[in-house]
């Protein structure tokens, strides 16, 4: 499927609030009930990329942040359109190590939805997330203390097929 599936996902997210997540449901009740696991400090680092056709300046506003599973965290990226015409971008993300991705829950961010920046406009882009407390119970995650979150922006154009994994 092409990136045209993304607006459908957006509608789905907003109407059902489920976000099409697989595995355990990440409901508000779960967030309200979860307890932070203070013994497991995880360093989350941030990466930002743009596809070569997108003329945005896009970067994280912090290179790293220390979190614990079960506690919500906020981080920021910044994007600027240095050109003299409006540009619409759309992003996807990646989590490394990929096995940790299933525990990395984004409550809200800026991905999978078209974002329009006017000429010379610069905006903050927040990511609000948490690491699922079940992370500490997974033996494969026992040695994981570094998770890298990487966002990539593409230019959103009519009819263009974007390599968004999971939608193909």
């Amino acid at each position: 499927m092409s990136y045209a599936a993304v607006p459908l996902y957006r509608l789905y997210c907003q109407t059902t609030g489920l976000g099409g997540t697989t595995g355990t449901g990440h409901s508000s009740e779960q967030i309200e009930r979860m307890e932070p696991v203070r013994e497991r400090v995880i360093r989350v680092t941030f990466n930002a990329d743009v596809h070569s056709s997108l003329q945005w300046n896009f970067r994280p506003q912090q290179s790293e942040i220390y979190v614990v599973p079960g506690e919500t965290a906020l981080a920021f990226y910044k994007a600027k359109n240095p050109t003299d015409k409006p540009i619409i971008g759309i992003s996807t993300y990646n989590v490394i190590p990929f096995e940790a991705g299933q525990y990395f829950n984004k409550i809200q961010c800026f991905c999978f939805e078209e974002q329009r920046l006017n000429p010379q406009e610069e905006v903050d882009m927040p990511v609000f997330f948490y690491i699922d407390p079940e992370f500490v119970e997974d033996p494969k995650m026992a040695k994981v203390d570094l998770i890298t979150l990487s966002y990539t922006f593409f230019e959103a154009k009519e009819g263009q097929k974007l390599p968004l994994p999971g939608y193909q």
Partner: protein, 137 residues
């Protein structure tokens, strides 16, 4: 990129965020809250847990300005901060309050620790009490 294939042939499947995307803050309405949060992060060595109060304030700013769907803060993982009583909790000095303590402190050459830790202080009461302080003159 996630299109790279590794030998186990598994690939990362990104999931959309639970509550969708944040609308862009085109007018920077919550930039001040973001700056305060980032300042806290820098000061704390990028420890997320130390800056949850300011993170909460940022999200509240967004909700107040229709830049985020309204949600009780407990459901965003801030239950412990919301449950704390406003009084009785040691507060940092709020320099955005009406009385500018550092400026007065500098003007009167009084060490700031001696100034009362109260949110509101009527300026005239402050100066009256100062008048009675013998060593302040």
């Amino acid at each position: 990129m996630s299109t790279a294939m590794n030998f186990s042939a598994k690939s990362f499947k990104p999931r959309p965020p639970d509550k969708g995307a944040f609308p862009l803050d085109h007018f920077g309405e919550c930039s001040a809250f973001k700056e305060r949060f980032m300042e806290c992060l820098r000061d704390s060595g990028y420890e997320s847990g130390a800056c949850r109060q300011r993170a909460m304030a940022y999200l509240q700013c967004r909700m107040d300005r229709q830049l985020m769907a309204n949600e009780p803060l407990e459901k965003l993982g801030f239950k412990d901060l919301v449950d704390e009583k406003p009084e009785g909790k040691p507060e940092e000095l709020d320099f955005s309050a009406k009385v500018d303590f550092p400026k007065i402190s500098r003007l009167l050459k009084i060490h700031k620790n001696i100034l009362p830790r109260r949110k509101q202080l009527l300026p005239e009461v402050f100066f009256m009490s100062l008048h009675q302080c013998e060593w302040c003159r």
